[in-house]
Amino acid sequence: MIETASRPPSDASAPSTIKLVDADVHAVVPSTEALFPYLSGHWREHVQATMFKGPVENSYPRFAPTTWRPGTETSGSAPAGSDLGALQRDVLDADGVDVAILCCTYQIDSLHNPDAAVAFSQATNDWLVAEWLDRDPRLRAGIVVPIQLPELAAREIDRVGGHPGFVQVALPARTTFPLGNRIHAPIWEAIARNHLVGAIHFGGAPGTPPTPSGWSSYYFEEYVGMAHVVQSQVVSLITEGVFDLHPDVRVAVLESGFTWIGPFLWRFDKEWRNLRRLVPWVRRAPSEYVRDHLRFTIQPLDAPASDAHFLEAIDQIGSDNVLMYASDYPHRHVSSPARLLDLVTPGLAERIRSGNARDLYGLH
């Protein structure tokens, strides 16, 4: 298997001290007011004096059973996942996490006013630095960008991309145009230029429907369907040649399942064999791009009842280098990561617990 790490991997001869990387924990903006220290007077006045309250759409309904796990309830008005102390106590210390990658899904993409989108993404990134990254050396984070404005998103990546705590760019699964579309070229150029990872996360609020058949009625549908949206994004990235233009770029897919990967790639590979002359820059089978360039976090497991079927689904991915451990804190799931880690070989378990994330993020 070709490993094209975007950063040099650690010295293979020396065992790493990093034994557990949690590749998906959430940093939730507790309220618009929490960003006030990082917003200009113009936007503070807007929020204080008018009905505009910043991004209010949310891919995670505050009180839905999937949004918070028991023990993450807060006594005040702050939502689960907004408290660094709780994260340190419940995840970093409790699980013995050496490095955790913060994902902030604040829905900048719902702001169609371009100046608001830029101001709130800048404020969110400055907030992430000051209130999370600078306070615990175990933390890393993804840059929040106004994805609907690719040139300005690239500018924001350049603005903060040099901070050692930022290891990736957070990209919503739901978009107006697929992420590989040439409209997004400035973002991929900025990701490559800053040696960052692209991280596709659950959710997004582009204002266009979440399914090819329009708007669904229930959150349950949106939740399940996010895997299908992510599948369309993977098709787009590979078909448009993002990894041919940027051979060092890699993408982490967060919180969208992984038991679908094998059969999804059968179909994608087959269609590529049939139709590759439409996209001659895609020189290898899509499954090879996935194994070289894409990584998936393991929570939710979306596991079948049968261990045998679960192992088959893992084996059908075709590589030990694809899956990354994640708690997805503070979100709740039915199965613990132990279900997976106890089932696979010790070697694969080590890759999942830290090896794949170490290589992806250049941690050592």
Binding site: R174, P178, T211, S217, G262, R267, L275, H309
Partner: protein
């Protein structure tokens, strides 16, 4: 174990497969809407001549692919548009006992709903006159104006007494998810007349082709039906369509089947946490899929290793009895019946997939 060894490389076994039921056979409109003009009233003939057809745009991509060259009739008509040649080129040599017609008509996508309804009626009349009457092995799907359920129900009632119509045809990407209340009158009519619902891949462009927006290439469009169908099945299960219409059966055509096991796993996992939002569901979501969903084989799943096809069949469990052979004749990516599967099926499974499952679904014998 439901299937055995990989296909041998060289020794060609004699043809032992039984006659088959093809659940995705296309009757093509030669000249598109013009093939239906003889079946339209004078009012709608004038409409065709002045306005033509009008559907939401953006769904057609440069594709480099046309229908199978060997399926082009000597008459010069479009492949699949000549029943005599379909008989000679496909039904007879491939030992097709029954073929289920799925016309890809402009009816369902029309922005003008009354015109769409007129086209649907014309298309069904055309199917009777030019396909069902001349060829007794054929059955057909009722074309409906999907986005006008009241007019769709009227068309279903018009056809229901002709038992050669065995199902009601949705487009792959209707304007709303298939479980939405808007479409319930159609399901009610299906249940009343013992008709099934099919969703055929592609078609109808009322929304971007993916939940992530408009893709750029036909390759993406051609992978996309798997995601579109999953979204529609999630919707039908979640909205409680199968609680309200307990005998309704849904046939997914040309959308693949490899995604079916993991869809059930994901839905069940999410449901165990979110079931309070959907208290009208009395069973885990996968149980509805097992009872109500059927899938056709083309485009055949081609795993990276043949033994993974065996794994897929085992993971499908009871849904193996809902797998239906389909060729997609005469399209470029059609599966040839005797070269379709990446493994040798056991004789029992071969009988089920090529004939018995479809015979049971459609009441053919």
């Amino acid at each position: 174990m439901v299937a055995t060894a990989e296909r041998p490389g060289t020794t060609a076994a004699p043809l032992v497969r039984p006659a088959l039921i093809d659940c995705d056979l296309h009757n093509e409109l030669h000249g598109d809407v013009w093939a239906l003009v003889p079946y339209l009233s004078e009012r709608w003939r004038r409409h065709v001549k002045t306005m033509g057809t009008r559907s939401p745009s953006g769904g057609f991509y440069p594709r480099f692919m046309d229908h199978r060259a060997d399926a082009r009739p000597p008459s010069g008509r479009r492949a699949g548009s000549d029943v005599a040649f379909t008989r000679e080129n496909y039904l007879d040599p491939c030992r097709v006992a029954y073929g289920i017609l799925i016309p890809l008509s402009p009816a369902a996508g029309q922005q003008n709903l009354e015109f769409g309804a007129a086209l649907a009626t014309a298309c069904n009349d055309w199917q009777v006159a030019e396909w069902l009457d001349p060829e007794p092995r054929l059955r057909a799907s009722i074309v409906i104006p999907v986005e006008a359920p009241d007019l769709a129900v009227a068309e279903i009632r018009r056809r229901a007494t002709d038992r050669r119509f065995v199902q009601v045809q949705f487009t792959g990407r209707p304007h709303e998810p298939m479980g939405r209340r808007k479409y319930w009158p159609i399901y009610e009519a299906c249940e009343e007349f013992g008709l099934h619902v099919i969703s055929h891949a592609f078609g109808s462009y009322g929304n971007p082709l993916t939940g992530a927006g408009w893709p750029s290439f036909y390759l993406e469009d051609h992978v996309g039906p798997a995601q579109a169908m999953q979204a529609n099945l999630v919707s039908m299960v979640t909205e409680g369509v199968f609680e309200r219409f307990p005998s309704l059966q849904v046939v997914s055509v040309e959308n693949g089947m490899g995604w079916l096991p993991s869809l059930g796993w994901r839905m069940d996992a999410a449901w165990s946490l979110l079931r309070e939002e959907v208290p009208h569901l009395s069973m885990p979501p996968s149980a509805y899929l097992e009872r109500h969903v059927w899938v056709t084989t083309q485009p055949m799943e081609e795993p990276h290793h043949p033994h993974q096809f065996v794994q897929l069949l085992e993971q499908l469990g009871p849904l193996v009895d809902h797998v239906l052979f389909a060729s997609d004749y005469p399209h470029w990516d059609a599966d040839q019946p005797d070269a379709a599967f990446p493994i040798h099926l056991t004789p029992e499974l071969e009988r089920k997939v090529y004939f018995e499952n479809a015979a049971r679904l459609y009441g053919l014998g």
